[in-house]
C-alpha cells in the first residue's frame, strides 16, 4: 500500500539555495531516485537531478541522502523509518550547477594529469600475454563507475580543500591499476608522492565506506601505493640497496 512520505530536497544554484519540503506517495520497492522522479512529475518539474542507468552502474545520481553520500538509485526507501523525513542534498565537495546536480569536471582534469598506460613491447607473435593471477588485483579497480562519492567524502578534499595537492581516492586507485598492471612500464611513483599527494591521505577509509562498488580503495589501492612510495623514498635499507646495486623499481 502506498504511503505518504516527507522529503526535504535542496533547491538552488551556485549562488544560493535551501531545502524545500515535498511530499509524495511511496510504493513498495521504490528507491530514493524513484521518489525524486515522482516529486519532479507531481510538484517540481524544474528540479534538476542527474541520472542515467538506474541500476548503480553509471555513477550519475550521486547525492547526499540524510547526510550520507550515496547513489540515489541504489538507496531503498525502506532503509529509512516510515516517519523519517528524507533529505537530499547535492554532493558537498563540488560546485552546484542546479539543485542536486554538481559540476564534477575537476575530476576529469585530474584524470588527464595521469600518465596513461604504457605497455611493454608485444611478444614475437604480436600478442600481449598476462596471467589471470597477475591481473586479479587491477580488475577490482576497473569496477569503478566514477560516481565520485569517494572524492566527495574524502576529508582532504571535502574539509581541507587540498584539491591542488591531492588527486583524491578515485584517482589513487586509477594510479594503482596502472602501477600494478603487469604489462605497464611507466614509473609514476615520483609523481604519486610529489604531485598526486599519496602522503595527504590519512587512511580514515571513508572513501571505501561510501564506494557503491565495494572496492577496497584504501587497503588495496592507496596503502599499496604508499608502501611503494616508502620503498622509493623512506626505507633506508632499500636506499642503501639501490646505492649498491642500482635497481630503482622494486615492482618489476
Amino acid at each position: 500500500m502506498a504511503k505518504l512520505r516527507n522529503f526535504k530536497i535542496w533547491r538552488g544554484d551556485s549562488d544560493s539555495g535551501d531545502l524545500v519540503n515535498y511530499q509524495t506517495e511511496i510504493d513498495e520497492g521504490m528507491v530514493v531516485l524513484d521518489a525524486i522522479h515522482r516529486i519532479q512529475v507531481e510538484s517540481a518539474q524544474d528540479m534538476a537531478v542527474r541520472w542515467n542507468c538506474k541500476a548503480g552502474k553509471c555513477g550519475s545520481c550521486s547525492i547526499e541522502i540524510n547526510g550520507v553520500p550515496k547513489l540515489a538509485c541504489m538507496t531503498r526507501m525502506n532503509d529509512y523509518g516510515e516517519e523519517e523525513t528524507i533529505s537530499c542534498r547535492p554532493m558537498k565537495s563540488f560546485p552546484v550547477l542546479k539543485d542536486l546536480v554538481t559540476d564534477v569536471s575537476w575530476n576529469y582534469r585530474q584524470n588527464q594529469r595521469i600518465e596513461p598506460f604504457k605497455p611493454r613491447p608485444r611478444e614475437q607473435d604480436g600478442n600481449h600475454r598476462m596471467m589471470q593471477e597477475d591481473v586479479d588485483r587491477v580488475q577490482e579497480f576497473r569496477k569503478c563507475i566514477e560516481c565520485y562519492l569517494c572524492q566527495n567524502t574524502c576529508h582532504v578534499l571535502r574539509d581541507h580543500q587540498k584539491n591542488d595537492e591531492f588527486v583524491g581516492p578515485r584517482f589513487m586507485i586509477r594510479l594503482a591499476s596502472l602501477e600494478m598492471h603487469p604489462l605497464d612500464t611507466a614509473d609514476r611513483i615520483p609523481k604519486i608522492r610529489e604531485e598526486y599527494g599519496s602522503g595527504m591521505c590519512n587512511i580514515t577509509k571513508c572513501c571505501t565506506v561510501v564506494c557503491p562498488e565495494h572496492i577496497e580503495i584504501t587497503d588495496n589501492g592507496i596503502i599499496p601505493l604508499k608502501e611503494r612510495v616508502v620503498d622509493r623514498y623512506y626505507d633506508p635499507i632499500l636506499w642503501l640497496k639501490r646505492k649498491l646495486f642500482g635497481k630503482k623499481d622494486q615492482s618489476k
Binding site: P95, M131, D134, M200, T204
Partner: protein
C-alpha cells in the same frame, strides 16, 4: 573549485544516523588500554606466577629480585636489575620493552585511521566536518615517520617468537609438564598477535604486493604467501582489537593470580 566552496565547520554534518558510535568506542577502547598498560608497566611487580610471564614484561631483560610477583633470576636475559637505572623511574622490566609493540600499533595503518578519527577528529566521522587546520599536511610533515611502519613490523615479528616461547614455557612448572588456565591464556596470546601482525599492510607489500607480476620468473611461490597474508589483512581490524584486548587480559590474569585474587586452575595442583 576550492575557492568557491564554503569552508567546513568542525562537526558540521547532515547525518542523522549514529556515526559517532565507532569513534567513541575507539576512543574508549584505546584510551582504556593505554591507561591500563601504562599503569601495569609502572607497577613492576606481580608479572610472574606459576610458570606464566605477563606479555607486558616479556622479554625479561633484567629482573629485580625480591619484588612481589617477580620472575626468578634465571628468567632474565641480562641478570639482576642494573644499578645505573635512574631512581626516579620505577624498576619495571616493562619499561624496557613495551615501547616496541606500542610503536607497531601506533604506526599500524588500521590504528592510524582509527585514532585520526577518534582522537584527532580529522575527520571525526565520514561526511562529518573535520577539525579546521590552516594548512592540513596529512602524513607528509610531522607524521612522516609513519612511513617506517615496516621497521616496527620487523621488531613485532621477533616479539611473536618470544611470546610463543613464553607460551611453550608455561607448560612446565618446576620441571613438571602440565597446563592450566594461564597456559591457555598465554597460548592464545601469540595466536591472536600472529593473526594481527601477519596481516600487516607492510608485510603484505613485502611478501608480494610490491610485485606487478606474480607469475613471472623469479617470483616463485609469492602468490600463495601473498594470498594468505591478504586474507589476514582483510580481517586486520578484527585481529587488531582481539589481540589488543587479549594481551591486556593476559597481563591482568597473571597479575590477579600472582596477587592471590583469583586462583589458576591447573594440573600442578597449586
Amino acid at each position: 573549485m576550492a575557492e568557491i566552496l564554503p569552508r567546513t565547520i568542525f562537526l558540521e554534518r547532515q547525518r542523522s544516523d549514529t556515526w559517532w558510535i565507532e569513534p567513541v568506542l575507539v576512543l574508549l577502547g584505546l584510551g582504556a588500554f593505554i591507561v591500563y598498560a601504562t599503569w601495569a608497566a609502572f607497577q613492576g611487580d606481580h608479572y610472574y606466577t606459576v610458570s606464566y610471564l605477563s606479555p607486558f614484561y616479556s622479554p625479561l631483560i633484567y629482573v629485580k629480585s625480591g619484588v612481589a610477583g617477580s620472575a626468578p633470576l634465571w628468567h632474565s636475559l641480562l641478570g639482576e636489575w642494573p644499578s645505573w637505572w635512574p631512581s626516579y623511574l620505577p624498576a619495571s622490566p616493562a619499561f624496557l620493552i613495551l615501547m616496541f609493540p606500542g610503536l607497531f600499533r601506533f604506526t599500524c595503518y588500521y590504528y592510524r585511521g582509527a585514532y585520526y578519527k577518534a582522537f584527532a577528529a580529522t575527520p571525526p566521522g565520514c561526511a562529518v566536518g573535520a577539525v579546521p587546520q590552516k594548512n592540513y599536511k596529512g602524513e607528509t610533515f610531522l607524521l612522516i615517520f609513519q612511513n617506517l611502519h615496516r621497521y616496527a613490523l620487523y621488531v613485532a615479528i621477533i616479539y611473536l617468537f618470544i611470546l610463543t616461547a613464553d607460551a611453550v614455557a608455561s607448560f612446565i612448572y618446576e620441571g613438571t609438564l602440565g597446563f592450566g588456565v594461564g597456559t591457555l591464556v598465554l597460548l592464545l596470546n601469540p595466536v591472536f598477535l600472529g593473526l594481527y601482525t601477519l596481516g600487516c599492510h607492510s608485510l603484505r607489500h613485502l611478501v608480494g604486493g610490491r610485485k606487478d607480476c606474480f607469475s613471472c620468473a623469479g617470483s616463485g611461490p609469492i602468490n600463495g604467501v601473498y594470498r594468505k597474508v591478504s586474507w589476514m589483512n582483510r580481517h586486520h581490524k578484527l585481529f587488531a582489537w582481539v589481540s589488543l584486548i587479549w594481551v591486556g587480559l593476559s597481563d591482568a590474569y597473571v597479575r590477579l593470580v600472582s596477587m592471590g585474587i583469583i586462583t589458576d586452575w591447573n594440573t600442578w595442583g597449586i
